[in-house]
Amino acid sequence: MIKSNDLDPDFKYEISKEPGGENIKKCFNCTGCTVGCPVTEIDKSYNPRMILRKAILGMRKEVLSDESLWLCASCYICYERCPQDVKITEVIGAIRAIAQREAKAGKIKLDNPKPLFDHLFIDSVKKNGKWYEAGVSGTFMLMTKGIGGAIGYAPMGLELWKKGKLSILPHTIKGKDEIKRICEEVEK
């Protein structure tokens, strides 16, 4: 049962202040997003309409710590079809950004490995200007699957390397300081 005392009526405003979350309040819960969703097609428990409904109701903690927040494939079908222009894919992104901040502050726990991968990826871009595939993938595999799991990917890595598709060292750019300044500016 939902108790009104447990709800945070400001949650929808919090989301609408995040880049991408601006249109959340336009949602009138028509379910168009969910009927076209390819992830819902294979897992009925993934329901973008329900994420939006809970968010608008103010079920803050439940939304932020729900594993299904990390199941959006960002394929933009719902974004394209939404009659209210909620921009659902980007609203999910805005909610994820809040969830990641809460996790960093130790207020919630995130189990999905995706934020770790994104973090490693973006770090490598900040450092080199381009993403360092071998380094990021290797580190991610070791951290999430351990040495045994990572070894399972070695044959594919070797095959990619033999075809000249995987560089052992990172590619870098000259304008790394510009990248650094851009990141600092948008993260202010």
């Binding site: 959006c72 494939a73 933009y76 991610f140």
Partner: protein, 308 residues
């Protein structure tokens, strides 16, 4: 035609055959590409949810492209989405533009950004392209796969129908290959779930293979390195996870065009695809030319008209 060129990280790595075949085909079609200087990663799908970071990283590339004075062509659907989204924000969001202009110390006037498929189909035109074809690819039975960001959201990419696109279909037909109906053409390959929930990513990709096989296809044609990474790069892993044999070559549309132009397999780097393309290439010319009928039965009247 002269264009600025943004290859993006994957085309210098796992999608090198897309880079090679893009350059070869553009050269043969009279499109001169100038790679933009010192470009950086667009943030890919990893920053797509961190909107300002993604657009900030992409905007730097737009500044680089602006300096060339040319339109910018991008073969990767994700890069194309990110740079286009950044261009739109730089034009419409004065607060964001001010931030980036301050950092880079330049004024932004805007760049015309296009996906390579858009350039080939709409700027060059299929009829002009077809004048460069030297052989018919009959024997190839292809399904066109568009995926997500190539055609969605339509407020960013406007060149094709987001629900029922036809650009790749038209190219396949023009090469003399058979273009088979494919209801999964705009579904998700699962690319962005690869790191968050791999088993779901593989189920989504497997659905594409299942329908492609049921349609009688001997290859899938794509226009995005992420789709290719899932369909071609991960095909072996999907076979293992689902205990099955798929053995379905996946060509970039530029490789298909290159074959019809009579370009060499080495030049198109057809040996770099993870799933062998040799059986497919050997099948070319082994059947009568394909009769490409109207494939999608939306209105019976269209088919009746086409039959007349």
């Amino acid at each position: 035609m002269k264009l600025a060129y943004y290859p993006g990280c994957t085309l210098h790595g796992t999608a090198r055959e897309y880079d090679a075949s893009t350059k070869a085909v553009c050269k043969a079609a009279g499109i001169e590409l100038t790679e933009i200087d010192d470009w950086n990663c667009c943030g890919a799908l990893e920053a797509i949810f961190d909107k300002e970071l993604s657009m900030g990283l992409s905007a730097r590339n737009n500044f680089k492209a602006q300096k060339t004075g040319l339109d910018l062509v991008i073969p990767c659907s994700i890069c194309s989405h990110n740079l286009s989204r950044a261009d739109k924000a730089m034009k419409n969001d004065s607060v964001f533009r001010a931030k980036i202009e301050k950092v880079l110390g330049e004024k932004y006037t805007g760049v015309n950004i296009k996906h390579l498929l858009d350039v080939v189909v709409n700027d060059l035109g299929i009829e002009t392209l077809a004048t460069k074809f030297t052989k018919s690819l009959n024997g190839i039975k292809a399904v066109p796969y568009y995926g997500c960001l190539l055609i969605r959201p339509s407020e960013v990419c406007k060149f094709d129908n987001p629900e029922n696109p036809s650009s790749l279909d038209d190219i396949i037909k023009a090469t003399g290959a058979e273009c088979l109906p494919f209801t999964q053409k705009t579904k998700c390959c699962g690319g962005n779930l690869l790191m968050s929930k791999q088993d779901y990513a593989f189920i989504l990709t497997k659905k594409l293979f299942d329908e492609a096989k049921a349609a009688g296809a001997n290859c899938i044609v794509v226009a995005c390195p992420m789709c290719h990474m899932l369909l071609d790069g991960q095909q072996g892993m999907i076979e293992k996870a689902h205990n099955t044999v798929i053995d379905m070559p996946v060509l970039y549309f530029t490789q298909l065009i290159g074959l019809a132009m009579g370009l060499g397999e080495k030049e198109l780097e057809l040996d770099k695809n993870m799933v062998s393309t040799s059986k497919l290439i050997a099948s070319i010319g082994k059947e009568k030319p394909a009769q490409n009928k109207v494939q999608v039965k939306i209105e019976p009247a269209i088919e009746a008209e086409a039959a007349q």
